[in-house]
Structure formats: C-alpha cells, structure tokens
C-alpha cells in the first residue's frame, strides 16, 4: 500500500513528511538527551575583544573553575565551538570580524554578551569608534552586566544559558 503511494515524483515530499513524523514521535525524549549533551559541553570561542577577557581568564582559573559547570576553557578551534562569549567592547574595526567568527561556527550556537560595553557601549557610550552594544551584529542569548563582571557573575550567566538551552527545541537532529 505504501508502495503504491510513493512515485518517483513525490518521493522527496514523502521522505520529508517521514522526517516530520519521526521528529514528532521522538522529539521529546531524544531532544532532551541531545540538549543534555549540549549543556554540559559548551565550547567557547577564544575571541577576546577587550578587557573583560581578564575576568574570563580568571573564571577558568583554579579558584572559580568554570569547567565544573560544563563550560570548557577556550582552547579549541572555531569549528568545534558553540558558544561566543563577547568579552567587552566591540569597536567598528572588530565588528565585521566578530560577525565573521560567528558565521563560521556550526549550528547550534549561543552568544553571551559579557560586560557593559558589549550590552550598551557602557563607559564608552560617547566614543567615536565603539558600537553601542552587539545586538546589531549578532543575536544575543544572555546578557551578563558588570564592568567587568565578576567571575561569579559570568558563571551565573553561563548557568542561565544552560537553563535556556534545556528549554530549547533540539530541532536539527535529523
């Protein structure tokens, strides 16, 4: 019966439908498992844009040890990363490069805007070379305020992001 329905003309449509059905059937249990995997292995890109990188370095130091919350230190290649922590001011010269870095990363990807400069421009609100926040360049998931934020604040921001991922739909698994 199924054989009669499928013709070479509508094969693609059928396979697509099958994917939808499969997704609907196992989205919840499998999606939960996939999100669980994503939460505990967030790889940040090693892109340091300004002075907040000092506190980012302190967050991965032995005292704060962000790795115990599942955020691995930034040592990897761009192509294996799924998290951009924008560490501070984005200048007009840096903005295209930040977008380039973001575009090169594979899906799914998340962005944390760290520090007042990344959120609104902060202390440099009237500087001629600083963007008023990074929202116009890349989409932001979590804002971490502070100038610079303490490592504890950054860790809390990362945990908020994990909460957010937990509730996201793990759509792109097929």
């Amino acid at each position: 019966m199924l054989k009669d329905l499928v013709t070479p003309e509508n094969a693609n449509v059928f396979v697509g439908k099958l994917g939808d059905i499969l997704e609907r059937a196992i989205d919840k249990p499998l999606g939960y498992a996939i999100n669980w995997g994503r939460i505990w292995s967030l790889w940040p890109v090693h892109i340091e844009t300004a002075c907040c990188s000092v506190e980012f370095g302190a967050a991965s130091s032995p005292r704060y040890d962000v790795e115990r919350f599942g955020i691995i230190e930034a040592f990897g290649s761009l192509r294996q990363c799924d998290l951009v922590v924008v560490q501070g001011t984005i200048t007009r010269k840096m903005a295209p490069r930040l977008r380039l870095v973001y575009d090169q990363m594979p899906e799914p990807k998340y962005v944390i805007a760290m520090g007042a400069c990344a959120i609104t421009g902060g202390l440099y609100f009237d500087s001629y070379n600083v963007l008023p926040g990074i929202d116009g360049v890349i989409p932001v998931d979590v804002y971490v305020p502070g100038c610079p934020p303490r490592p504890e604040t950054l860790i809390q921001g990362c945990m908020l992001l994990q909460e957010k991922i937990k509730r996201m739909k793990a759509r792109k698994f097929v």
């Binding site: 010269k93 609100f125 009237d126």
Partner: protein, 192 residues
C-alpha cells in the same frame, strides 16, 4: 666699548630667551637642564625657542624647517637616543597643529631622568584631505627609528603627513574610516 657692547646683547639674548617664558622666573632654573637648553640655543640661535626649563624637563620649540637638524643635534651631540612619545595637539585658533616629541636617553646615565620636549607646528587645513594637503612635516624616522608607529598614529589621528616616512598607513582606525581625523578639535563625538 662698542665691540664689547655688540657682544653683550648676544649673550643677553640667550638669557632673555630662556627665562621669561619659564613659568616662575623668580625661582632659579635647574642648572643641568639649563646647560642642555643653552647648548641647543648656542647652536641654533633664534631658530629655536626655549618654552620651559623645569626639573627633568626641557621644552624646545622649533620651526618645521629646522626640526630635522635639531633632532640630529640632540642625537649626535647631546646623546639622546629614543623617542618615548609623539603626540599631536590641535590649535584651531592658531590654524596650526603641534606635534610634540618626547625624547629620552637610555645610554647616557646622566640623562636618564631627562625628557626633551621637542615641539613643532604644521599648518592646519580647514577641510583636511589626509596625505594630500599642506599639513606636512618632515619625518624624524631616519634620526630616531622609534618614532615609526607613533608618527603613523599622528598621521591618522590628526592628518599630519610625514614626508619621507616609508610607511604612512593607517594603524589604529578602521580601514573604512572616511570622517575627519578624530583627534582634531572640530571632530565632535556624538552627544557632546
């Protein structure tokens, strides 16, 4: 009588030039700094102007045509060997841009505390076209190698083109910067 008179103003002139511009003429000028500034005045006469002689700091103002010679003199005779900083200062009311070299010395231990503040002025244009207008100065890169990046910075921040500099390119600003040079006084930052 006459001959000795004609010599005296010459000696007086150096004194007059050095003292009235200093901030507090009643206080005695530091001797070592005074001797250095006297050497420069002795060599170049009225081409240079001593703007101040303070403790550890000597301010010399030179015209743009003789800055190269004065710099060579400070390097070869006075043993200064590097430039710490090159800063531009914009004076729109004078229609001039001042470029200030802070020259120091590592090799001569008696000069370790000293900074020679050598300043010169370039003509300022109302509508600057950086690199293609009259805002020009001779470069000091062949005298002090260490000015290379500093002069590039002054070029992009003030539009002062340094003639003879091998590498007059942008350094800090974005590649697509098309506005006025940002540190000029007529460049206003947003909201101010």
């Amino acid at each position: 009588m006459m001959s000795s008179d004609s010599e005296k103003p010459d000696a007086d002139e150096t004194q007059v030039k050095a003292t009235p511009t200093a901030k507090k003429p009643e206080i005695e000028l530091p001797a070592f700094e005074k001797s250095i500034s006297d050497k420069i005045v002795e060599k170049f006469g009225d081409k240079v102007e001593v703007t101040f002689v303070k403790e550890d700091r000597i301010g010399i103002k030179v015209g743009r045509e003789s800055i190269h010679d004065v710099a060579e003199f400070t390097r070869d005779v006075l043993n200064y060997d590097h430039v710490e900083s090159v800063s531009g200062v914009d004076y729109p009311q004078d229609k001039e841009i001042e470029v200030v070299y802070h020259i120091g010395s590592y090799s001569d231990s008696s000069l370790a505390r000293q900074i020679l503040v050598l300043s010169t002025r370039a003509q300022r244009e109302e509508n600057p076209i950086p690199g293609n207008d009259a805002t020009r100065l001779p470069t000091l890169r062949d005298v002090f190698y260490s000015v290379e990046f500093h002069e590039r910075e002054v070029f992009e921040m003030f539009g002062v083109y340094f003639e003879g500099h091998p590498d007059n390119r942008r350094l800090l600003l974005p590649e697509d910067w098309a506005d006025l040079p940002p540190l000029r006084k007529d460049f206003a930052i947003k909201g101010r």
